[in-house]
């Protein structure tokens, strides 16, 4: 360990130096206070110092005060050397920041003993600091450490013309899915593996390959790799002259992450979305640079998996907006600022309202009533869609139960509730639906869950299981946006679906006067026939004109919804609609559709 001896007495200095060298210290000697300050605040500074009380220029306590005032470097253990033993001097020395004091002339054994105490103290402080600044799982520096280093770099870039750095914000895609499906232990192992591969992608100091080692090995020897969140990492490329280098690192990371991780007997493939931000431009705060990289990462994510994107001012502003919206959403959930609107679904034969699709609106305190498009993507990305979706389902079921209690003579009302991809990925979806049904008392047959075609096709085998479990509760399932994805018809047979919803893009084109509607009409006709042959009801979405309504009626479509019939309305308006319903209708027998379904399979 390096130690400083600051003493203007050459005899004392020489004796101390020799004693310390014999104890294995690397000794630096100076003869005045200012040189001591320069040495202790300089590069590669000693971690321990013995400072004479009286020195030319600055005395020992003054040196202590200056060293303590600087918090950029590591802690230094300061021992004051004094010929005086007055209590007030000792107190003053400690108040100046000294850790210990020795009386002159020193006894070598006492000196060594005091230094052992100092070394233990430093070791303990270092260990606590290391824990506070490092991620216990990957051993990488954590957010606190990273922000400190980023701030230093931002300051340097501001002060030194030509100094540049680049920041990479890395988000591991589908990490939650791994955690949920294979458990947290596997998820943890995956993060450790990712950390290792990230270190292999950058300029870090010498380290045994495949071994993370102590994080300090990652510091000051090249690029800084830090873990700042569950599946979020950052890489700080210091003193980087060219943005292309940042891009090359991003590409190297994508390449490093490409091979499968072998964990828990499974081959796990992951990708990363990477945002790149540089010190060039106007960034004056570390938070701006980080936000820029974060925004760029979101942009990369929206472009698809395994992509990178370079930050610009637009994406930066967008990121600020996204962050604010996310915070507002959290508050909205607590304050119950959401409202369920209901869009009627009518029987095309007699225009009777048979169901309502529940659609969420947000009564934003400053921006007014917001449509789902303004906040659902952020809710989905942040995971807030899960509690929000549960709230919508609970409220819709409560409302349906109320309607059915009040309008029973007019027949049961069904509510259709959309299930988002995040909700669909939740392990406790079935239990959640069951709880809501119990809580609200709604007949399960009056709840229809809408899932999109694309959603079910992402992991069709899981979807079959999940939809079967849901239908066992007694709820019905409808396939939304049908015709827009790439459904496997064999899976369509295995899904317990009772309703197909024709996507509005087909409906919009079925009654064009320019003669271009033939293709869409054929598709709609095919979907209706397919649905009917499989024993399903068919709903046409997005009906906006009478002509579309007429064509759909002629093609035998069962149900329809759209602005021609009604926009989504508040609950009280939906109640008024139900009051005016013409005649009662009974719940269909649940087994009929499956029986027809099977019959058609045999027939075909």
């Amino acid at each position: 360990m390096k130690i400083l001896v600051a003493d203007d007495d050459a005899v004392s200095r020489t004796m101390l130096k020799r004693t310390l060298e014999r104890s294995g210290f690397d000794v630096v000697c100076v003869a005045d206070g200012q040189s001591a300050v320069d040495c202790l605040l300089g590069k590669d500074a000693p971690r321990m110092a013995i400072l004479d009380w009286v020195m030319p220029g600055k005395d020992g306590p003054a040196v202590c005060r200056e060293v303590r005032a600087d918090d950029a470097g590591p802690t230094v253990y300061l021992i004051l050397l004094t010929a005086r033993e007055a209590v007030e001097d000792v107190v003053m020395g400690f108040e100046a920041g000294a850790d210990d004091y020795l009386t002159k002339p020193c006894n070598p054994d006492e000196l060594k003993a005091r230094l052992r105490v100092g070394a233990r103290s430093l070791e303990l402080q270092d260990s606590l600091l290391h824990e506070a600044e490092h991620d216990s799982l990957t051993k990488l520096p954590n957010r606190a450490f990273f922000v400190k280093r980023l701030t230093q770099n931002v300051r340097k870039a501001r002060e030194l013309p030509g100094y540049q750095f680049t920041l990479l914000f890395i988000d591991i895609n589908r990490f939650k899915h791994v955690n949920d499906s294979l458990g947290h232990t596997t998820g943890d192992e995956l993060m450790k593996g990712v950390a290792r591969r990230l270190l292999q992608s950058v300029r870090v100091g010498p380290k045994p390959p495949g071994e993370l080692g102590p994080c300090s090995a990652n510091i000051g020897m090249g690029d800084l790799v830090a873990r700042i969140g569950g599946d979020e990492f950052v890489i700080l490329l210091e003193n980087l002259a060219d943005l292309d280098d940042g891009v090359r690192v991003a590409e190297r990371i994508q390449q490093q992450l490409r091979p499968a991780f072998m964990l828990a007997g499974c081959e796990i493939f992951i990708t990363a979305s990477i945002g790149i931000s540089t010190s060039q431009g106007v960034a004056t705060e570390s938070s701006e640079v980080l936000r820029g990289a974060d925004a760029a990462m979101y942009k990369a994510k929206s472009m698809g998996k395994a992509r990178y994107h370079i930050s610009d001012s637009t994406s930066n502003a967008a990121a600020v907006g996204v962050l604010k919206l996310e915070n507002d959403l959290r508050r909205a959930l607590e304050n119950e600022e959401f409202e369920v609107y209901y869009q009627p679904i009518v029987r095309l034969g007699d225009s009777t309202v048979t169901r309502f699709e529940a659609l969420v609106r947000w009564n934003h305190p400053t921006r007014g009533l917001l449509q789902p498009g303004a906040f659902i993507p952020v809710a989905e990305e942040s995971g807030l869609i899960v509690p929000m979706g549960a709230w919508v389902m609970r409220e819709a079921c409560r409302q349906a139960q109320e309607w059915n209690a009040n309008f029973r003579p007019a027949g049961p009302v069904t509510v259709c509730v959309n299930i988002s991809p995040r909700q669909f990925g939740e392990d406790n979806l079935v239990q959640g639906v069951r709880d809501i049904l119990v809580e609200t008392g709604l007949d399960p047959r009056c709840l229809e869950l809408e899932v999109t075609e694309n959603l079910t096709m992402q992991d069709a085998a899981r979807a079959v299981q999940l939809l079967t479990d849901l239908s066992k509760l007694g709820v019905s399932i409808s396939l939304d946006d049908f015709g827009t994805g790439c459904s496997s018809l064999s899976y369509l047979l295995r899904f317990p679906i009772s309703t197909l919803k024709i996507d509005q893009s087909f409906v919009a084109n079925i009654a064009r006067r320019d003669g271009s509607s033939a293709g869409s009409s054929a598709i709609v006709q095919t979907i209706i026939a397919l649905g009917h042959n499989l024993g399903m009801k068919v709903v046409a979405e997005g009906i906006e004109t009478s002509a579309q309504m007429e064509v759909l009626g002629r093609l035998g479509c069962d149900l329809g919804q759209g602005y021609l019939l009604s926009r989504p309305v508040a609950a009280y308006r939906a109640t008024e609609m139900l009051r005016g319903r013409p005649f009662p209708r009974q719940l269909p027998s649940r087994n009929v559709s499956r029986a027809n379904h099977n019959l058609m399979l045999v027939a075909s």
Binding site: D8, T14, M15, T19, A83, K104
Partner: protein, 122 residues
């Protein structure tokens, strides 16, 4: 001769000094050599300060000298330097002149004895 008696007679507490240098002969020679050079400088500075009647300067130089002499276990000489430091604090220039004579006797005496020990005994 007992150690204390020896220290009394020679002006240097050898036992204490040997412990301080951890019985390192080479170090002892080195520090003696350094002291010889440094004392000349410090003494000159002190004398100039006394001539100028600069009490603060006298106090500083005497303080440094006191520490150096104590490091070499030159007990009487160190005590003399301490008295000069104290007298300077009291601005007693006459007392300082008198004590300077003491110091100028004690230091060479202890120094010579230590040198002899280094050459003959060790």
């Amino acid at each position: 001769m007992q150690t204390a008696e020896f220290a009394n007679h020679t002006g240097v507490d050898l036992k204490e000094l040997f412990v301080r240098v951890e019985y390192d002969r080479e170090l002892l020679r080195d520090v003696l050599e350094i002291f010889t050079e440094e004392f000349l400088k410090l003494h000159a500075l002190l004398q100039r300060a006394v001539e100028r009647g600069d009490a603060e300067r006298i106090q500083n130089e005497a303080h440094t000298l006191k520490g150096m002499l104590a490091s070499l276990s030159f007990g009487k000489a160190s005590a003399s330097a301490m008295r000069i430091e104290r007298l300077a604090r009291q601005a007693d220039l006459a007392g300082i002149q008198e004590e300077m004579a003491h110091l100028e006797y004690e230091v060479p005496f202890a120094q010579a004895n230590l040198k002899k020990v280094c050459e003959e005994i060790w």
